[in-house]
């Protein structure tokens, strides 16, 4: 009995991490059909937000709030990643709707840029970047409006961006003369996020050790799931998102601002990635490369669950979680002690973490051969061109 409970709890624990990480992707990929390879990096931004909040609260006047820093980090991470996602949508994705392979490449590029950004951002770098952006966006506004209507106006814009970029680099180089400004904020090293004391221990229920950090993630996942469900089913904007998912041109005819709907879905999806980023700081390492550890699993969950269905994401995440725990820990042998010897040795062979991962992947690929659209297929726009 205990071993069954133990299996269920650990499967749920692994599954909830997968689910939380994949939830944002389910919105972005499932509802909008955008293959967002930068999803892992949006999680990373959430994790870095946690790090910043932790450091701000460690000392100073707000020290009393330190034990709760992770709760404060959740909404902030949602905002930071959500805004980053919004910028990404406005600048890149918007131009690529209906072209999934191009979005794949473009967002892959964005993920590399984000990784490098956290590695090299310093005060000097930041000042230069802000100056370049302000000038680049601001300069054309000072030019006579008539010029911008000319045939050569793209050249003018290019020129002003080049000028802005040059000035930005110059200012960054100038500021970089001072050692204090040149020091990177995070550097390429991994950073240390330490869970608050109350999330470091564990409690024991019916003989099963439940780490409080895991319980926290399960609760956070459940809350996020309920919130997303409510948002999509009950709120005005959620209903609009679903309408656009089902039929874009008809929704547009009926006066739904599809531009805003796209931006909002992307913001929500990216924000959820940020929340997942906060959660994984309790379990793993935080560094510029951490996104890559999660992206494959996220896509695996969404594809297996069926694109466009939240229920599919939930079932797929829990299924993969329980399966990889049962296989990886070899607890099948405990649950069924009188197993035939042939099966027993087969299971022992796969009862290592590496082999369990291989087996789970093989099972998923095999499953998709029979149900290519996943567990819960849904008709919808895959952003029809």
């Amino acid at each position: 009995m205990t071993s069954l409970l133990d299996t269920l709890f650990n499967g749920l624990a692994i599954g909830s991490v997968l689910m939380l990480a994949a939830l944002g992707l389910a919105v972005v990929f499932g509802l909008m059909g955008v293959i967002n390879m930068a999803h892992g990096e949006l999680m990373m931004l959430g994790a870095y937000t946690t790090y910043v909040v932790q450091n701000l609260l460690k000392t100073g006047p707000l020290q009393a709030l330190f034990p709760a820093y992770i709760l404060i980090a959740i909404p902030l991470a949602f905002l930071v990643s959500g805004l980053a996602g919004l910028v990404l949508e406005k600048t890149v994705i918007r131009r690529l709707y209906g072209r999934p392979l191009e979005t794949l490449l473009a967002t892959w590029g964005v993920s590399l840029i984000l990784q490098q950004l956290v590695r090299s951002v310093s005060t000097a770098f930041f000042i230069g970047l802000v100056l370049a952006l302000v000038l680049g966006l601001g300069l054309p506004r000072f030019l006579p409006a008539a010029w911008l209507r000319q045939r050569w106006s793209p050249l003018l814009k290019l020129g002003s961006w080049l000028l802005a970029g040059g000035l930005g680099i110059a200012l960054a180089a100038l500021a970089g003369q001072t050692r204090q400004l040149r020091l990177p904020w995070f550097s390429a090293r991994n950073i240390e996020v330490t869970a608050p004391q109350w999330l470091r221990g564990s409690i024991e229920v019916a003989g099963v050790t439940m780490p409080t950090g895991r319980l926290f993630i399960i609760a956070l996942t459940a809350l996020s799931l309920i919130a997303v469900h409510w948002f999509l089913q009950k709120s005005v904007w959620g209903i609009r998102i679903r309408a656009v998912t089902q039929n874009r041109s008809m929704s547009s005819c009926l006066g739904i601002p599809t531009d805003k709907v796209d931006a909002l879905s992307f913001l929500v999806g990216s924000g959820l990635a940020g929340v997942a980023g906060v959660a994984v700081t309790l379990l793993g390492s935080v560094g510029p490369n951490m996104g890559g550890n999660y992206i494959v699993d996220c896509f695996m969950v969404v594809v297996l669950g069926g694109v466009g269905k939240l229920l599919g994401t939930v079932v797929a995440a829990l299924g993969i979680g329980i399966l990889s725990y049962v296989l990886g820990s070899g607890s099948l042998l405990l649950l069924w002690p009188q197993m035939p010897a042939a099966l027993n040795s087969l299971i022992t062979f796969f009862a290592t973490t590496s082999m369990a991962k291989v087996l789970v992947f093989m099972l998923i690929v095999a499953f998709l051969q029979f149900r290519p659209a996943g567990l819960f297929p849904q008709k919808g726009r895959m952003v029809e061109a």
């Binding site: 133990d6 590399l112 780490p211 390492s285 890559g292 896509f299 820990s329 070899g330 973490t353 590496s354």
Partner: protein, 443 residues
């Protein structure tokens, strides 16, 4: 009709996605990481001392980007520091001339084939006299054929699994008998007989664990379980379940995980109650001062590590090394065993070249055996098997992220071919012998 037409692209998309997923998994298994290196260390400055009669180019080949960059940056920085010091003291004195050491830096990018490719470039294009480089055994295995084919030389600063002895590599990190074996003996004597082995899934942990299993058999220990985690994997729950099953009341855990997985491992172990306070003795072979800072001392306090150098080693040479390193790269930085080995090997090469009176790599190779250097860990000497006699230390992690040295086993001679493993028992390596099989022959 409509649903069919719509299904088609979905299907194709999912097909290409699963293919992509597979590629990505493979790529991450290979440990590849995107991106380019940040915070490059300031390259050596000319020193202004002047008066050099020429230059000698040396290659520095470490991962300055990707997953391994975190660890390898420190090693590269230690090598650059040694080069700067040598230049400030008048360079390499060969044949009555003072040669300035000029480092040529390349980025291995945490990608093993890149290490081989950059090695070729350093040897053929830059014509360096020697290459200091590598970290993971996988990168060394990838570079080895290049150096053997071109009869060039690689100086490799990291503790490794042994079972290799190339004429073209100088191994300045520990062999298993200078790290893993004394650590296991110590654990058997002081901490218990039941061992669980956890490692990353690649050549070093697997070979090291093979050796430890043989040693446990020979010395009366008992292996209760072992598991391997793919590099970069952060889900440790199945392994923790196995540890709890195998060692319900405490025992010894030997950890050869590398890189990011360590963070996940220790965070989740602590949450599950597998801690020193509950009777678990945890010994790690890839966690030094640098990694403690990244994981957080809270999670590691009370666990053990075996190395040949700790920053807390209380000797004047060790203190000077740490002070100099901090002065050059910042107050918050720490020194560790790989940095110490990397720093020392640059000096060893310089002393070898001066003894040979030439920077020709084959002459340096012959003269280097027997050369001694007063390293931060003490006086180290190059042995005939191209390894170093090293100090063996066992330490316990303290609250401040430093090690308290529990045991100092003194200088230990390196053994390349392991004597616990039946296949290599009785074999030895001696490059001063003029025999074709000097790399591996039976005594």
């Amino acid at each position: 009709m409509k649903s069919l037409a719509q299904n088609q692209p979905t299907r194709r998309l999912i097909g290409s996605l699963s293919a992509l997923g597979l590629t990505l998994t493979l790529a991450s298994c290979g440990g590849g990481g995107g991106g380019t290196g940040a915070d490059k260390a300031a390259s050596t400055d000319t020193g202004g001392a002047g008066g050099f009669d020429g230059e000698v180019k040396v290659g520095i080949l470490h991962s300055r980007s990707g997953t391994m960059a975190i660890s390898e940056n420190t090693v590269a920085e230690a090598e650059l520091m040694a080069i700067d010091e040598i230049n400030a003291a008048g360079g390499v004195k060969v044949d009555g001339k003072k040669l300035k050491m000029v480092p040529v830096e390349e980025d291995g990018a945490s990608d093993w084939p890149t290490f081989a490719e950059k090695s070729k470039k350093l040897i053929d294009q830059d014509k360096v006299a020697v290459v200091f480089g590598g970290w993971t055994s996988a990168s060394r295995k990838a570079m080895l054929p290049v150096y053997e084919a071109k009869d060039a030389f690689l100086y490799y600063p990291i503790q490794y699994e042994g079972q290799e002895c190339s004429k073209n590599i100088f191994y300045t990190g520990a062999t298993p008998n200078q790290q893993a074996e004394p650590a296991v003996s110590w654990l058997l004597k002081n901490k218990g007989k039941d061992f669980f082995l956890v490692g990353s899934d690649y050549v070093y942990p697997r070979t090291a664990n093979t050796i430890m299993k043989e040693q446990l058999k020979a010395q009366g220990g008992k292996l209760v379980g072992e598991d391997y985690l793919p590099l970069g994997n952060t889900e440790v729950a199945p392994i923790i379940a196995k540890i709890k099953q195998a060692l319900p009341k405490g025992g010894v855990i030997v950890n050869t995980l590398n890189g990011d997985s360590n963070v996940a491992f220790f965070k989740q172990m602590k949450a599950a109650g597998i801690t020193p306070a509950n009777g678990y003795a945890i010994m790690s072979f890839s966690i030094a001062e640098e990694e403690i800072a990244a994981i957080g001392p809270e999670y590691l306090e009370g666990t053990y590590a075996a190395w040949n150098y700790f920053q807390s080693l209380d000797t004047p040479a060790s203190k000077k090394f740490t002070t100099d390193f901090k002065a050059k790269y910042g107050d918050k930085r720490v020194t560790n065993d790989p940095a110490e080995a990397a720093y020392s090997m640059v000096y060893l090469w310089k002393l070898g070249a001066e003894k040979a009176n030439s920077v020709d790599d084959n002459k340096v190779r012959e003269s280097l055996v027997g050369v001694s250097f007063d390293a931060p860990q003490g006086k180290i000497t190059v042995q005939p098997n191209h390894h170093i006699e090293k100090l063996v230390l066992i330490g316990e992690v303290q609250k401040d992220g430093m090690f308290k040295i529990l045991e100092n086993k003194g200088m230990v001679k390196p053994v390349a071919w392991n004597q616990f493993v039946p296949e290599t028992k009785g074999y030895t390596c001696d490059w001063t012998q003029k025999r074709p099989d000097a790399g591996k022959y039976k005594l």
